[in-house]
């Protein structure tokens, strides 16, 4: 049973992740295929919302993954700052674009769902607004990664930002809820909604699991790409130094 410290060795991680990745990707593909088949062809249309209810099957997992990936980033941030785990900042860097992508998917599907339901693409609904702010935080984190050259320093700076954001997300959610009830006392959107029919629940659960595996597989692949990018960087520097030395030896002392 490999422990977390064994995984700290990037070589070991590369080997394990290479073995794991096809299985995860395969399982994600199968689950997504089954889930989408059930969602599109088996699940009944909603008696109120009609066919548009099928958007939910992508929308809800995307929202859940946007939050899950941020939580993973916060744990990785602790890994960088407290435990100084060498893979933690790689994990964090790899998670940010995926989380941002799922936030965006959540917002876009929400807009397409909102048009037939509410008659408009966007309402300042508390939950939509919170996801929008989450997307902005993701984009800020990505911007900070790109702005700092040195990966070690960038990793620590981004870890601090991620944790500050993590403390802030519940506060933002709370204040947006407060703001929303203040401005929209009679929302068209019922917060709890009708209880979901089992014929819709099953495809939703299968798709949620499938998307989660997809996100984890993407995350693993992105981590591998980042590790290789850093290796290329180190090798390039070493090569430049070697040429430097050769050039020095060629010169008279």
């Amino acid at each position: 049973m490999p422990s977390l410290t064994d995984l700290a060795n990037p070589t070991r991680f590369m080997r394990l992740s290479a073995a794991l990745l096809p299985w995860m990707a395969g399982a994600a593909t199968i689950l997504l295929a089954i889930g989408f088949y059930l969602a599109w062809f088996v699940a009944p249309a909603d008696y109120q919302q009609g066919e548009t209810i099928r958007i939910m099957f992508v929308h809800v997992p995307a929202a859940w993954l946007a939050l899950m990936l941020y939580t993973m980033m916060a744990v990785s941030a602790l890994g960088t700052l407290v435990w100084r785990h060498p893979l933690a900042d790689v994990a964090q860097k790899a998670a940010a674009p995926i989380g941002a992508a799922f936030s965006l998917i959540c917002l876009l599907t929400g807009a397409f769902w909102g048009k037939p339901m509410w008659g408009t693409y966007w309402v300042w609904d508390a939950r939509l607004t919170s996801v929008l702010v989450l997307l902005l935080i993701y984009l800020g984190i990505i911007a900070l990664w790109r702005a700092l050259d040195d990966s070690g320093r960038a990793g620590r700076a981004v870890a601090i930002l991620t944790l500050v954001g993590f403390v802030n997300v519940p506060i933002i959610k709370f204040s947006v809820d407060w703001w929303n009830t203040l401005h929209q006392p009679a929302s068209v959107f019922r917060a709890d909604g009708p209880t979901i029919h089992p014929a819709m629940l099953w495809p939703l659960l299968i798709l949620a699991l499938g998307f989660t595996l997809l996100a984890l597989a993407l995350h693993l692949a992105a981590m591998r790409a980042e590790i290789m990018r850093r290796r290329v960087r180190t090798l390039t520097i070493l090569e430049a130094e070697r040429h430097d030395r050769l050039a020095m030896q060629g010169l008279p002392a």
Binding site: D149, D150, T234, I237, E241
Partner: protein, 198 residues
């Protein structure tokens, strides 16, 4: 007290600057740190004062008790820590308040470096050499045993270099220690040379 550096390695931007560096600097001793550009003189100074994290090895101050190393060290780096908009005396008074352990007053320290007349002149108006002397006067306003100087003689003329050498000698005689990165001679009789890099 003694500054003990053991098996120190430094990596910056993926590049290994130096490794396996060990030395000891006791009170009353001086080390002239030499080496070609890029050998890691400034990096070593940054490591000793805790601004960089070592790749391997350790920097300790023996016999300091609970006092953290950065609080026993005076650093005069390339960046001189002076605010151009403030006067020389104002800059020194700020340094004294921040560093603690007050020794000379700002006016007396400026006297010692031969700049009594610039106390209220904004530092931005001074020449590079004068500015350097104001920065070095910081060593005199607070009492700290270890002086870490990065190119202390840069931009100074011969008279000023002799003056700075005198300040360092007085510090050594009073039981202090000096670690100075330098290209030229320091003008200290008992200074050891530590050459880093190839």
């Amino acid at each position: 007290m003694a500054l003990a550096v053991e098996n120190l390695a430094c990596r910056r931007g993926g590049r290994l600057i130096f490794e396996g560096l060990s030395f000891r600097l006791a009170q009353g001793e001086a080390i002239a740190l030499t080496g070609r550009n890029g050998a890691g003189k400034s990096s070593l100074i940054a490591l000793v004062c805790g601004r960089l994290r070592p790749e391997a090895g350790s920097v300790r101050i023996e016999g300091a008790g609970d006092t953290p190393a950065p609080e026993l060290i005076h650093l005069i780096g390339h960046r001189d820590g002076l605010k151009s908009a403030l006067g020389a005396a104002g800059n020194l008074a700020f340094a004294q308040a921040v560093l603690g352990e007050p020794a000379l007053s700002a006016a007396a320290a400026l006297d010692m470096v031969g700049l009594p007349h610039v106390a209220d002149v904004p530092v931005g108006y001074l020449s590079a050499g004068q500015r350097r002397r104001v920065a070095l006067a910081r060593l005199l306003v607070s009492r700290r045993p270890f002086w870490l100087l990065d190119e202390p003689m840069a931009a100074l003329d011969f008279a000023a270099q002799a003056m700075v050498a005198g300040l360092m000698q007085a510090h050594l005689d009073a039981g202090g220690a000096v670690l100075a990165a330098t290209h030229g001679p320091l003008g200290l009789a008992g200074a050891r040379e530590l050459r880093i890099g190839p």
